[in-house]
Symmetry: none
Subunit: 177 residues, 2 copies
DNA sequence: ACAACTATGTATAAGAC
DNA sequence: TGTCTTATACATAGTTG
């Protein structure tokens, strides 16, 4: 696509190379966005050039959290484990201090989610924290919309989540070589 | 690019949509590979349609493991240290005080953040902690505006997050075949 | 580096198999 | 879905500012 056909090999001249990089990066992103719209598909595009900083692209109207949700939904076992972990974390948090967990913008009709969680002497109402702690889905949402994070409890759990994922990665990397 | 110009909106007919999806997926991958070669850049491309399995693409001669390696090797030590410090700070904050952390809106007004936390022989200033929290919550923003990244700590956390995302992707790929 | 321009190579829409 | 064809829309190489 241009005045001339070019060979498919690395452009030697660094100046020219990074110029082409910008142009093509832009083009690639456009294509990706077109495809996301036309075909109703999720796309994550990560690009690094040797000279410029990394860029992660994804369509705005398709939050990264939603894409990750899909990915993390794949293993039922993982989800169960995750849920157990977040509940445990919640219990710990509330035991140590009177941390308030606001229920965000969501209407909680008090008939629903009356489930209670008992551990030691503390009773925790799950309904309160459900939106926040139910599974990693909501945690990922918080990463995506950081402005919604308005207290320490959330941040702590997010951090824990990050840490726990990292340990999984290390394991996976060892297994995979 | 075709007989007709088409509107940039989701194709209604599911059959046609998935047909276009295949075509464009192929085209997008080709572009990505071209760019990887021409511009000597690393690219990771994750695509899924609602109907088909997720596909993770990356050039063969640039193995994902190498890209991950690049990311993890770059600042392994700083990442570990950073993570430990952040977590420790958060935990201490929760344990010792029931303090509200002002979030997002940085009002550096009066004698800001007089609260201090004692741990071992170290004094942790709340202001410092808040910076950490802000760092955490701006991860995704930073990926979109890499020029904003002005210190190693931020980059470190960004990397953690990226690596965790990639891990999920990798895992999904394996599970789905 | 980014924007604009033009000529030309490419991707792809529509259609048939 | 995959592949082929053809006509057309689009992306981009080369270049200048």
């Amino acid at each position: 696509m241009g005045r001339k056909k070019i060979d498919l090999k690395t452009i030697e001249c660094p100046k020219e190379r990074s110029s082409k990089y910008s142009k093509r990066k832009k083009g690639l992103l456009k294509k990706a966005e077109e495809m996301a719209v036309l075909c109703d598909s999720d796309i994550i595009l990560l690009v690094f050039s040797p000279t410029s900083k990394p860029n992660l692209f994804y369509p705005h109207y398709r939050p990264l959290s939603r894409i990750l949700e899909k990915l993390s939904n794949m293993s039922e076992y993982e989800r169960e484990e995750r849920r157990a972990y977040t509940k445990k974390t919640l219990v710990k948090l509330l035991k140590n201090k009177n941390v308030e967990i606001p229920n965000e913008n969501h209407n909680h009709s008090s008939g629903r989610d009356e489930v209670q969680l008992q551990e030691d002497d503390k009773v925790i109402e799950l309904g309160e924290a459900r939106e926040l702690l139910d599974d990693n889905t909501s945690i990922l949402r918080n990463w995506q919309d950081p402005h919604r994070v308005d207290d320490l409890a959330k941040l702590t759990i997010m951090e824990d989540h990050l840490v726990s994922i990292l340990s999984l990665i290390k394991k996976a990397q060892i297994e995979q070589g």
